[in-house]
């Protein structure tokens, strides 16, 4: 088969998979809405039974498609199975009128992502892993919020930032473990590592959030400390094991390891330094020099991190990572624009900022699109060469 035909066929397969995945998500959304409606006419046991059978049906059909060489469509149905399994848990909770507290929802999500993660490994399904990691992100955030709610502790953005940093370290370790074994999940974990790093840097880029990283009089409750210690141990062990495995197989350079460790220490330093501007209010007009310096530094860092992630994505020929970085770049522009509009308030100020901002966004948007296309082309060029994906 000619190379062009091969590429065309791959694109068709990929397009079919995207359509099937959207279909799966739509079905799950429809069922979720039916659950939310909570049909009184239908006995609870029947509702649970229908959902459990639908979960089994989705998984079975997914496997049948996979065994008949429709790998991607099968993968989409496994995604549907994962979503239906999650919905089954929430339906059971609804049926038994379980608590709606953050902790109760966090517990339900914990049951969901653990089951889906297990299914991802047994089926070697990257798309299921994506669902598990998305639910994990919601779970870990909710778990922290629930500790704050449950034990009436102070909410600290700094702790949330540390949690995302720890998860990023763990995911980097998992990336290396899978890369050393040439496992396809390496790409998924790499993408999510980049996501957590970008998310963390985005949080640090807000002038109003920096003084809230460590609220005045903040005290760490024992349960949050215990939670942090446990996830830190898991993440550090994963990172050490992953780095050793990858380095021993010559799949990771010392330069990248030093860069990774340097970045982790930089984030720890930045999050810790925010305690110096603890409790400052950015809404009262006067902003201290320290806050200004920190905010400017964090925003320059955010741009540098975005560029580094683009470089990282280009190096590993991952168009998805490049796109992710560009999405965060767009988010950065929009966020800062809204921030400037708020800072230079008033009707005339708003009008002038809107016009200037609009022009910048149109030109910027054109530039980003051009930049994105060029990067994607470069990435594709590299992919078409016979390099290893990792």
């Amino acid at each position: 088969m000619a190379r062009n035909e091969e590429v065309e066929l791959k694109q068709h397969i990929s397009f079919g998979a995207v359509v099937a995945t959207i279909g799966s998500i739509l079905i799950a959304l429809g069922i979720a809405w039916l659950i939310a409606l909570n049909w009184a006419a239908m006995p609870s046991a029947l509702k649970v039974l229908i959902l459990v059978l639908a979960t089994a049906g989705a998984y079975t059909t997914g496997v049948l498609f996979r065994t008949n060489d429709y790998e991607k469509i099968g993968g989409s149905l496994l995604v549907l199975g994962a979503l239906l399994y999650t919905l089954s848990i929430f339906l059971i909770a609804q049926t038994f009128h379980l608590a709606t507290s953050l902790q109760a929802n966090a517990f339900l999500l914990l049951l969901a992502w653990i089951g889906i993660l297990f299914a991802s490994y047994v089926f070697d399904s990257s798309s299921s892993l994506v669902i598990a990691l998305a639910e994990f992100l919601v779970w870990i955030s909710l778990q922290y919020f629930s500790f704050v709610e449950l034990f009436r502790g102070d909410f600290s953005v700094g702790i949330l930032a540390i949690i995302y940093l720890i998860v990023g370290i763990g995911l980097y370790g998992l990336t290396q473990i899978h890369k050393s074994r040439d496992h396809e999940f390496a790409g998924v974990y790499r993408y999510w590592t980049a996501f957590y790093v970008l998310l963390l840097t985005y949080i640090l880029s807000f002038q109003s959030l920096l003084p809230m990283l460590w609220p005045k009089g903040f005290e760490l409750t024992a349960n949050v400390l215990f939670f942090l210690i446990i996830i830190s141990i898991v993440a550090i062990v994963l990172a050490i094991v992953g780095i050793f495995m990858s380095v021993s197989k010559n799949k990771l350079t010392g330069k990248e390891v030093i860069g990774f460790i340097g970045l982790v220490f930089l984030y720890i330093l930045l999050i810790s330094l925010a305690s110096l501007i603890s409790g400052e209010s950015v809404f009262r007009g006067s902003i201290s020099g320290g806050l200004w310096v920190m905010w400017l530094f964090d925003n320059v860092l955010f741009i540098l991190v975005i560029l580094s992630v683009i470089g990282y994505g280009t190096r590993y020929q991952s168009a998805k990572i490049v796109n992710l970085a560009i999405i965060f770049f767009g988010l950065d522009i929009i966020t800062r624009y809204i921030g400037f509009v708020l800072d230079f308030g008033g009707q005339v100020g708003f009008a002038v900022m809107s016009i200037i901002g609009g022009i910048i966004l149109i030109v910027g948007g054109w530039g980003i699109e051009k930049w994105r296309r060029r990067l994607l082309e470069k990435t594709k060029e590299k992919s078409s060469q016979d390099y290893s994906i990792y």
């Binding site: 979720a32 089994a56 998984y59 079975t60 065994t67 009128h97 709606t100």
Partner: protein, 178 residues
């Protein structure tokens, strides 16, 4: 795909369905343990109604035993065992509270301390919500809740009561597209 690989895939499917059903089944068993008990109590309430995007529409039920006298040494997050005493109408009310589990013969419910203010503390029992279909209408004044209590004080709602009878819920007439 070769038949050997196909068999392997089917085996994987069986393992996954087994594990997922085990989790779901275990969860079902865990939440239904109190319902298997023979201990029942009727609790007085003061309800309000919100909507949960994930779980649907429900009423938040505030029980009269939600606010009880504080116990020495009790802290937010601690489990507390509230012993109940039935009045002449069969409605269970606060008798005593302890951080230690009472004897199995006692009628008690387990809760978690949410806040302590002076001599009082607010306790939640995990039964503060009752889900129903959207568009449901029923009288919430003077409502009572019939609950089942497990051996360790875990509670599950059985039904809502009004004047000792199950609450009559009516639903708005809906078209298939409403």
């Amino acid at each position: 795909m070769e038949s050997k690989s196909k068999n392997k895939e089917y085996l994987k499917l069986a393992i996954i369905l087994g594990v997922l059903f085990l989790i779901l089944g275990g969860f079902l068993l865990y939440v239904s343990i109190p319902l298997l008990s023979t201990k029942t109590a009727v609790l007085a309430t003061q309800p309000v109604d919100p909507f949960d995007l994930i779980r649907g529409q429900y009423i938040v039920i505030r029980y009269e035993i939600a606010s009880i006298p504080s116990i020495e040494g009790a802290e937010v997050g601690d489990n507390v065992y509230v012993s109940l005493m039935e009045d002449a109408n069969g409605t269970a009310g606060y008798k005593t509270a302890s951080l230690d589990k009472p004897s199995k013969d006692d009628l008690f419910v387990r809760g978690q301390i949410k806040s302590v203010y002076g001599n009082d503390m607010r306790v939640e029992y995990g039964i503060e919500q009752y889900f129903f279909e959207r568009g449901a209408k029923f009288e919430t004044r003077g409502m009572e809740v019939k609950v089942k209590l497990s051996g360790n004080g875990g509670a599950r709602i059985v039904e809502l009561l009004q004047d000792g009878e199950p609450v009559k819920i009516t639903y708005e007439n809906k078209t298939p597209t409403s």
